[in-house]
Amino acid sequence: MKRTVPLLITAVVGFTLIGAYFVPYTQSWGETVAIWFDVLAAIAFILGGGNLLRSHLKKISDQQRGWAYSIIVLASFLGTLFVGLGKIGVAPSPQFLEYSWSGPYRQTGSAFWYFYQYAFQPLTSTIFALLAFYIASAAFRAFRAKNLEAILLLATAFIVLLGRTFAGVALTGWIDPANWEGFRHFTGLRLENLTVYIMAVFNTAGNRAIMIGIALGIVATSLKILIGVDRSYLGKD
């Protein structure tokens, strides 16, 4: 009972939606279900939030290593939640002054905006900016000509990188019909044109094959789930 019903639900819902794609009247079922999913994911926040609270409270009560930082996590989590849900500092919208809760929760100047502007935004964009450092260390460590494939990877990256600087353009700027008529056939070898050619031909072909492979992988994976061959996500009997 605990496992057969869920498997039945998955199969029925899955095949219905596949069929719905072919019947003109029911083609919009896909979007409706997507909206339902958003609602379900929003409700599930309670589980996630609950787990966050429980694991950090446990870390504090057990005085595990780094419990002081858990206090900071809980303080900022509950602070943001309180300020956001309570629309603290949000003025009601001009047309509906008498409805105190009508103002947008992200209103500039409100407390929630303050948390976003001076904590959320700087922190996330700075973590994102770490990528520039990691790209440099990855370039030094990973781009070594160990075998033919690594040489192709490194050579292409090298050409594209060079092609995007003025040095690259200057390096092969001499391949110019103005200098010698014969160069007319070789302008394709100029670095920036080479980059264009690599992106337009090799990148297109490579990405197409990967996308075709992914589509086939998804067909097989979805089918295995719908007919119950793969049911690990359902847990124990």
Binding site: R144, A145, F166
Partner: protein, 333 residues
């Protein structure tokens, strides 16, 4: 450069101080050994300096780094430069504040170039926030530096029309069917420069600044391909550029890709129309390219050094006399 080193000596002092331990390590352990056991935090420090110093140098001196325009940027420039004063030009700004970083420098340079050439500028937008971008650019360029240009006679903002590519399909045959008024609400008949303009085909050139959909792809498919006489050039973000390269040069006569394309085009506009010391707002792209250039050079150097190191190690490993390198972990593809 000398003045910069003298005035900002303290920055240079800090820069050198942080690199002294690295140089000492190379001196004591030898360059190859130093490189082999190089702590990746030195690479992080080099990346920090290769972005921070150019920003500081450009910020203080106002000068920018060299930039050599590529053939594609020159083709884009020539498409506008070949026009005569008074020729009608359509500018469609299809982007939003999120992509302003890469596209605003292009929009500013396009409008300055058209204003210098005294072309008749017809602005429009396929994105809801487009008219705001047009207004910002008009205020920054035309109203600030070309006060003699008159709204309604030299430039007009037709505003946003919803309908994505359907808008292009309509205005290429009959512009008045969709645009009965301009963005300010004045009727089309009362706008002097709209006299005699019935469709986009009369435009000598279409300039499209695009961040996605609807954008340059739709302008190529519905604006340029069906009407070979109409010339189309475009500026677009780095992510979108590879997708539209195949249209160059037949359907798309000029293309500026990412901040690099903007910098190249700015260089061409400034060299011909900039005057002795151009206003910093026309150097936005060139200014942003400073750190990009040095950081790209750093990464290129890192790849070269890594491979030189790898080959010397491999050759050393073949001769048993020298010590072997770090045990290489199982290397998969």
């Amino acid at each position: 450069m000398g003045a910069f080193l003298r005035d900002q000596w303290w920055v240079v002092a800090i820069f050198i101080a942080t690199l002294v331990p690295l140089v000492r390590r190379f001196a004591s352990a030898g360059v190859m050994e130093g490189l082999r056991t190089l702590d990746r935090r030195w690479i992080f420090l080099l990346m920090l300096w290769s972005v921070l110093l150019p920003i500081y140098f450009i910020g203080v001196t106002g000068r920018t780094f060299p930039e050599v325009p590529s053939a594609l940027a020159r083709a884009t420039f020539d498409e506008i430069d070949r026009l005569a004063p008074g020729d009608p030009v359509l500018l469609s700004f299809d982007y939003d504040p999120a992509s302003e970083g890469e596209l605003q420098p292009m929009a500013t340079a396009f409008v300055k170039h058209c204003a210098e050439k005294k072309l008749k500028m017809y602005f429009m937008a396929l994105w809801p926030v487009g008219p705001q971008m047009v207004q910002n650019t008009v205020d920054r360029v035309i109203r600030a530096d070309y006060p003699n240009l008159v709204y309604g006679e030299d430039y007009v903002n037709l505003g946003y029309k919803s309908g994505y590519e359907a808008v292009i399909r309509v205005i290429t045959t009959n512009i008045r069917e969709l645009y009965t008024t301009d963005a300010r609400g004045t009727a089309i008949q009362d706008i002097p420069m709209m006299k005699g303009i019935t469709s986009v085909q009369q435009m000598k050139l279409i300039i499209n600044v695009s961040a996605g959909y609807p954008g340059v792809k739709e302008w190529v498919q519905y604006g340029a391909t069906p009407y070979p006489a109409v010339h189309l050039i475009a500026g677009t973000t780095g992510v979108q550029a590879p997708l539209v390269y195949p249209y160059v040069p037949r359907q798309l006569r000029g293309l500026l890709g990412a901040i690099k394309g903007a910098a190249e085009y700015e260089k061409l506009v400034i060299d011909t129309y900039g005057g002795p010391n151009p206003d910093p707002k026309y150097l936005e792209g060139l200014r942003r390219m400073g750190p990009q250039l040095v950081a790209h050079m750093l990464i290129i150097m890192l790849i070269i050094v890594a491979n030189v190191l790898y080959f010397t190690e491999k050759r050393a490993a073949r001769r048993p006399s020298t010590g072997s390198g770090r045990p290489e972990r199982a290397e998969g593809r």
